[in-house]
């Protein structure tokens, strides 16, 4: 009798997505869905879709979903989780959504220690609106609103969200991962698994930043986009775990005289 070794996760809807060729949103959706299945929480999960390329995520997951206003997914997540602490609540957000218009909401959601999980997809550009500069756009990177490349004198440097959130004293799990090849995608899934597990255990807020591609708006073919990410983004956005609830606070040490 044949044994199933690979199948669509139950938490992933059986539909085609609207994502461009070479975009890694679909892959990240799948990793999240696999983790929800493996933890056995699909039937009590509520996802929150952002405004951005993943705006239609509610069509792609086989879980209850709530479509948020731009940047407000962590506030919506707070409302759902406080109303129903038994639910597993995750926000799925892009870089414009989370790191620009929604910066206040993500910082305070993390700082309150809301027991929710945030999947933060960073592809260094606004995708849905057509390739404008994001808070995470790389120095010198060309975008439709910085056509000569991002000028750090005028636009500042790209925001490292995982590092920023990990400075908060409130216990949390904060990690960065990437999915530009199968090996690193396995690591990304492990980070997502740990993030959701902390929530299932009621331990803490969790955020996984996942580096992602945008061949369409970067203006490079899909395969080259993977290389572009590795060469340009990875050195500035290192992968790894930045904070765990066990790692304690990052208070400055007293001066030794």
């Amino acid at each position: 009798m044949a044994e199933t070794v690979f199948a669509r996760p139950q938490a992933l809807a059986d539909v085609s997505t609207h994502y461009c060729p070479g975009c890694t949103h679909g892959l990240i959706h799948r990793l999240v869905a696999e983790v929800l299945d493996e933890l056995g929480v699909r039937e009590r999960t509520v996802g929150i879709a952002p405004v951005g390329c993943a705006v239609l995520a509610y069509n792609y997951f086989n879980t209850d979903f709530h479509e948020a206003a731009h940047g407000r997914a962590p506030a919506v997540a707070t409302g759902i989780k406080r109303a129903r602490p038994d639910l597993i609540v995750f926000a799925y957000q892009g870089d414009g959504d989370l790191a620009s218009i929604g910066m206040a909401e993500i910082i305070h959601c993390a700082n309150r220690g809301e027991k929710v999980t945030v999947v933060f997809v960073n592809n260094a550009i606004y995708g849905m609106t057509g390739g404008q500069m994001a808070p995470t756009t790389m120095p010198g990177q060309v975008a439709t609103t910085c056509q000569l490349g991002r000028d750090v004198e005028l636009a500042g440097h790209p925001i490292r969200v995982a590092e920023l959130i990990s400075t908060l004293r409130t216990p949390a799990f904060v990690a960065r991962a990437t999915v530009h090849n199968p090996l690193v995608a396995v690591h990304a899934k492990e980070m997502l698994r740990r993030a959701f597990r902390y929530q299932v255990e009621g331990a803490c807020f969790s955020l996984v930043e996942v580096l992602s591609t945008c061949p369409t708006n970067w203006g490079v073919p899909p395969v080259e986009a993977m290389t572009w990410l590795e060469k340009n983004m990875l050195p500035y956005y290192p992968v790894g775990i930045f904070k765990t609830p066990e790692s304690g606070s990052r208070e400055p040490k007293p001066l030794e005289v």
């Binding site: 039937e43 509520v46 509610y58 979903f65 206003a69 407000r72 506030a75 707070t78 409302g79 305070h108």
Partner: protein, 384 residues
Amino acid sequence: MPVGTIYSCTETETGGNQSENRMTKKLMKGSEAIGEAAVQAGCKLFFGYPITPQNEIPEYLSARLPAIGGAFVQAESEVAASNMIYGAAGAGERVMTSSSSPGVSLMAEGISYLAGSELPVVIVNIMRAGPGLGGILPSQADYFQATKGLAHGDFRVLVLAPWSIQEAADLVQDAFDLADYYRNPVMILGDGLIGQMMEPVEFREGRKPIKDLPPKTWATTGCKGDRPTNVINSLFLDPAELEQHNIRLTKKFKTIERDEVRFETYGTDANYDVLIVAYGTVARVCSTAMDELREEGIGVAMVRPISLFPFPYEAVRTAAEKARSVLVVELSAGQMIEDVQLALARSRPVHFLNRMGGMLVSPDEAVAKVKAIVDGSSEEVHHG
């Protein structure tokens, strides 16, 4: 501790019977009565941001809600608060927020999404004077905002305006039922006086909902077994689909306009020359003026809109038929007056008395204005 007020204050029982529906009268500040009314209506969650003059509502609930197994969250902003109630309402729980004028402007985003996604919430706006940072004293300058243009997109919220602390408590409880029934935000529109005054309040025990409320089968509670996924959403990329959604919402607002008009009339059984139209605490000032005027033999009556959306057009039109002139009194530059003019369709001259900036209309000013209308020295308001 603010929550202590309700328990430590003087309590008097009225009626004297010990049946299930006995009413307990308590002396309460308006803001605390609003908070307690919400709890008694089954509100489990409050999300809000501090702003004067309504801080006693969140302060009261910050202690009260955790005590009953609910949750209170002080949000990072009114923008966040309006999106937190959006999440909590989507999960099917009774939820409230409160704010004052500039804060309500910031909540516009969340309120539009709530209306678009058809979620029930109760929003309390204790109005202060504007525009901009304005002042912290009582005002009715947000009538247009509340009834006509609260945020982007075609939608309305039911707006209820109390004139006493008792009525504020009753309307808050009704607001939760109306919000659930229509799956739409309901706003309690008060002013600083409603928030700050102390008056005796009765809470009915064993209160029944005023509507037959269906179960919230649409809520995001997890898709167990074969139940299809529930999605809370206001996005319709297909214009034909969105138009159908708009048509459905419009029908709902028409139903509200037909079925949810609330108002009271005063002195309309007698003969009168002048009909006053005023709402909220201004109507109370006008009722004091009416007593004085009627003692002097001047015929005056009043229509007090309680629901501002839907506006009691028919009640104003009918009551005005017996009057020679209509006087609108507001704490604004003239906002509700446009609805009164719409109701009257130029059939009666309309006069206007107002104060702004946090200044109040006094009974003496109202008396003088009515006398001026009667003796012909008041000029009517012309528009267009």
